[in-house]
């Protein structure tokens, strides 16, 4: 009883605080200094039609590298803790059969989802979305595959190989930026091209393809690791 009163009191304090600050917050009429700089010089310096991508991959490229590293760390920790033992092949599979509709629909929809994921990260510099979103969509495609066929085996060699290669290439492109252009992860090593074309904005499409593959394989690795533990007998 006392606990509930405490919770209610804290909620009331929060409500008062939020209500008092309601008047202070409004839509910004103008961009602040950094945002103005990005918005004015971004298209000319980076050449990406999607300004968010220009900021994420080029101006704040190091942050993206950090995010990818954290995701990699999380995926490897999950893999480390879940890999308890080599399961024997003849464990009885008492999985409920999936419905006919799901199975058939998954067969049709999965390739489309994969295609959409690839589209999202290749067009990251033109349309909303990018490496992270595309990678997450790829992993959702894998989830649909696993839902339709719960005992399916996922090939971990391909996933980890893809992950390592794309992570390495991403770093390599960043270092190439130091050598050929102005700094780490500078995208102008390839020339910015025509604004708004698919092949433009320098190295951004290539970097985003690698980020997308890396994120997709990491998330797929997490999901398939968890799926593997479902069959395991404790």
């Amino acid at each position: 009883m006392l606990k509930k009163i405490f919770v209610l009191a804290i909620l009331a304090v929060f409500a008062v605080m939020l209500f008092r600050s309601y008047g202070l917050v409004g839509a910004n009429e103008e961009l602040n200094e950094i945002a103005t700089r990005y918005a004015q010089k971004g298209p000319e310096e980076v050449g990406a039609a999607n300004l968010v991508t220009a900021v994420i991959v080029t101006y704040r490229g190091l942050d993206t590298l950090g995010e990818v590293t954290i995701l990699f760390l999380a995926a490897s920790i999950i893999g480390f803790f879940l890999k308890t033992k080599q399961q024997n092949e003849k464990t009885s599979e008492n999985v409920r059969k999936t419905s006919e509709i799901l199975e058939t629909a998954a067969r049709v929809i999965t390739p489309v989802i994969f295609l959409f994921g690839v589209y999202v990260f290749i067009n990251g510099h033109l349309t909303p979305g990018g490496g992270f979103q595309g990678g997450a969509i790829l992993a959702s495609g894998l989830v649909l595959m696993l839902l339709a066929n719960p005992v399916k085996k996922v090939n971990h060699t391909i996933i980890s190989l893809l992950e390592s290669i794309s992570g390495f290439s991403f770093l390599l492109l960043g270092v190439l930026g130091i050598i050929l252009a102005d700094g780490f992860l500078d995208n102008t090593i390839l020339g910015t091209g025509d604004f708004g074309e698919l092949i433009s904005a320098g190295a951004i499409p290539i970097i985003y393809i690698f980020i997308g593959l890396k994120v997709g394989s990491e998330l797929s690795g997490i999901v398939s690791n968890l799926q593997k533990t479902q069959k395991e007998e404790i």
Partner: protein, 83 residues
């Protein structure tokens, strides 16, 4: 019009969040948490942030829900064996 949609969405998010916290069945709670993410991604779209909306829809309501279900299944098996 957009304001009306936003208010309805916010109320739906609140309702789902309360269900997720208060419901005794864990399966219902996990699904409600996923629906919160789904509505939140529509909200991001209304606030002109399609990049964030895509991430939220794919990771928040897709992958994390399925991961919760896998873990839930695992915990249940453990419990049955110990009982």
């Amino acid at each position: 019009m957009i304001k009306l949609i936003a208010i309805i969405l916010a109320l739906a998010i609140l309702l789902m969040a309360i269900i997720a916290v208060e419901n005794k069945k864990l399966v219902v709670a996990v699904i409600a948490a996923g629906v919160v993410s789904l509505f939140a991604s529509v909200f991001y779209l209304l606030l002109a942030a399609p990049d964030v909306a895509m991430t939220e829809a794919a990771i928040g309501s897709g992958l994390s829900t399925i991961i919760f279900f896998y873990v839930l299944n695992k915990i249940r098996k453990n419990r049955k064996d110990h009982a």
